[in-house]
């Protein structure tokens, strides 16, 4: 019951880092409307948020800020790593790089990964559904159609 409530009321924190932030906004906007799943309440303060969507490259300068914000969130809390940069440093990883964290999962535990550069809003929606699946233990909608 509690899980069901939690899964249906995931309030994300407004935490835009880079390009993917724009796609995150698109997801919340009219065309895709994240609010349908009750997840459209973007809270600016980590204290009131349940979910941190890491949208973009995490740099070494940003890393302490990110972990602090994560710690400020009250549990239960979740993290979605959106975009390739957040997952693994993405295209910005090369030999001798000095400023990019190669994957936000090195900093905070990540629940759902949404790859893409940037992912389509559907990708993020799918990420939300996956997160709901993780919380409640079962999937609400028929599985994603994979279009290889």
């Amino acid at each position: 019951m509690l899980d069901l409530a939690r899964a249906n009321s995931i309030w994300p924190m407004t935490f835009g880092l880079a390009c993917c932030a724009i796609e995150m906004m698109s997801t919340a906007m009219s065309r895709f409307d994240l609010d349908r799943f009750g997840a459209g309440v973007f809270r600016a303060t980590p204290r009131q948020a349940d979910l941190m969507i890491v949208t973009g490259t995490v740099t070494r300068k940003m890393a302490p800020v990110l972990t602090r914000l994560y710690e400020q969130m009250p549990s239960p809390k979740w993290v979605i790593a959106m975009g390739n940069c957040a997952i693994s440093g993405g295209p910005f990883v090369f030999e001798g790089q000095y400023n990019v964290i190669e994957g936000v999962d090195l900093l905070v535990p990540v629940d759902v990964y949404v790859p893409g550069c940037p992912p389509r809003p559907e990708g993020l929606l799918e990420g939300f559904l996956k997160l709901e699946e993780k919380i409640t233990g079962k999937r609400r909608f028929p599985g994603p159609d994979s279009r290889w």
């Binding site: 509690l2 939690r6 609010d35 009750g38 009250p74």
Partner: protein
């Protein structure tokens, strides 16, 4: 039962029953309003709003509420504990007290007091205090600035609010809310006091910290204002109080200017709620249309425009009544 009544007196029992009823109504009202707000906002932005959770997303606010209750109770370090704990509770007192005197129907009123409106006004100042406590207790700069803004705003707008209500009180010749409603049998006061209604409405929107006067929680400037550091349950209390306040100011407006529970065909309570929620809708509508004003503009509007206007209105009304 009768024993209890005999010990505590009929009035006391009635008040307690009323209070319980009020509590239920408060929660219910907040649930409805959050849902309506999101739904209305959604459609104004040409999207759907909550949909997947329950039919038309009606279960959504309940899910939100359960989730908030289920959150970890987190007290940040460095807060001033007693103040931090007390503030969300205290913000609820004025809300409950106000409901005691609002006449929902001719017979549906917890207590009709001689000085009904004074009770509401007196206790509404308490919310300011709890906001200050929250702001100070959070030990956070955004929260403190939010609280200071909120207080300055509330002080500034309480005056035009009062001054806008006074002409009606003069015309009805009573402080009692019921008497005021009864006085509007033939003609709603909004017809003879349009300026007062206008001033009251603006001041009320400001009092409830809604856009375009939502400076204390201006997201782009202050993150979330005075409740920046609050999470879970306590945040839910602030949230609840905010939405209940919206309903209360609308209810007072209905009582004072729009004939309260009076109306043809339908029972009084239906009329009352209908009118109130219409005003609530207008407030939501304003929020999703306008940008936010700046702090000095906000104060200027009150001190330089609304208060003088309200005074003039009061004088004219007094003069006309005497004639």
């Amino acid at each position: 039962m009768e024993k209890i009544i005999s010990i505590m007196g009929w009035e006391t029992v009635k008040t307690i029953v009323g209070l319980v009823g009020v509590l239920i109504f408060v929660v219910f009202n907040a649930l409805i309003l959050t849902w309506a707000e999101r739904k209305v906002a959604g459609h104004m932005q040409r999207r759907i709003g909550p949909k997947e959770v329950g039919p038309f997303g009606l279960i959504q606010p309940i899910a939100d509420a359960i989730k908030l209750l289920g959150k970890e109770i987190l007290t940040p370090r460095e807060v001033d504990r007693p103040l931090y704990w007390l503030a969300p509770v205290l913000i609820f007192v004025p809300v409950l007290v106000s409901f005691v005197v609002i006449p929902f129907d001719a017979s549906l009123q917890v207590r009709d007091m001689n000085a009904g409106i004074l009770v509401i006004l007196a206790f509404s100042s308490l919310s300011v205090l709890s906001i200050l406590m929250a702001g100070w207790g959070s030990n956070n700069k955004y929260a403190l600035i939010g609280a200071i803004r909120s207080v300055a705003q509330n002080i500034a707008y309480e005056i035009p609010l009062l001054l806008a209500l006074l002409p009606v009180i003069m015309m009805a010749n009573s402080f009692s809310l019921k008497a005021i409603v009864e006085a509007q049998q033939g003609l709603w006061f909004v017809v003879c006091q349009p300026i007062a209604f206008f001033i009251y409405f603006i001041a009320a929107v400001a009092e409830t910290n809604r856009t375009p006067f939502d400076l204390p929680e201006a997201e782009s400037e202050l993150v979330a204002g005075y409740h920046t550091e609050y999470s879970g349950m306590r945040f839910a209390l602030f949230f609840l109080a905010e939405y209940t306040n919206i309903f209360i100011v609308s209810a007072i407006a209905v009582t004072f200017f729009l004939g309260g529970y009076q109306g043809p065909f339908l029972p009084g309570i239906v009329w009352f709620l209908l009118k109130s929620y219409c005003l609530v809708f207008v407030i939501i509508w304003l929020r999703w249309t306008y940008p936010r004003v700046r702090f000095d503009q906000l104060l200027n509007l009150s001190w330089k425009a609304l208060i003088p206007l309200a005074f003039i209105n009061l004088l004219v009304t007094g003069g006309l009544l005497k004639l």
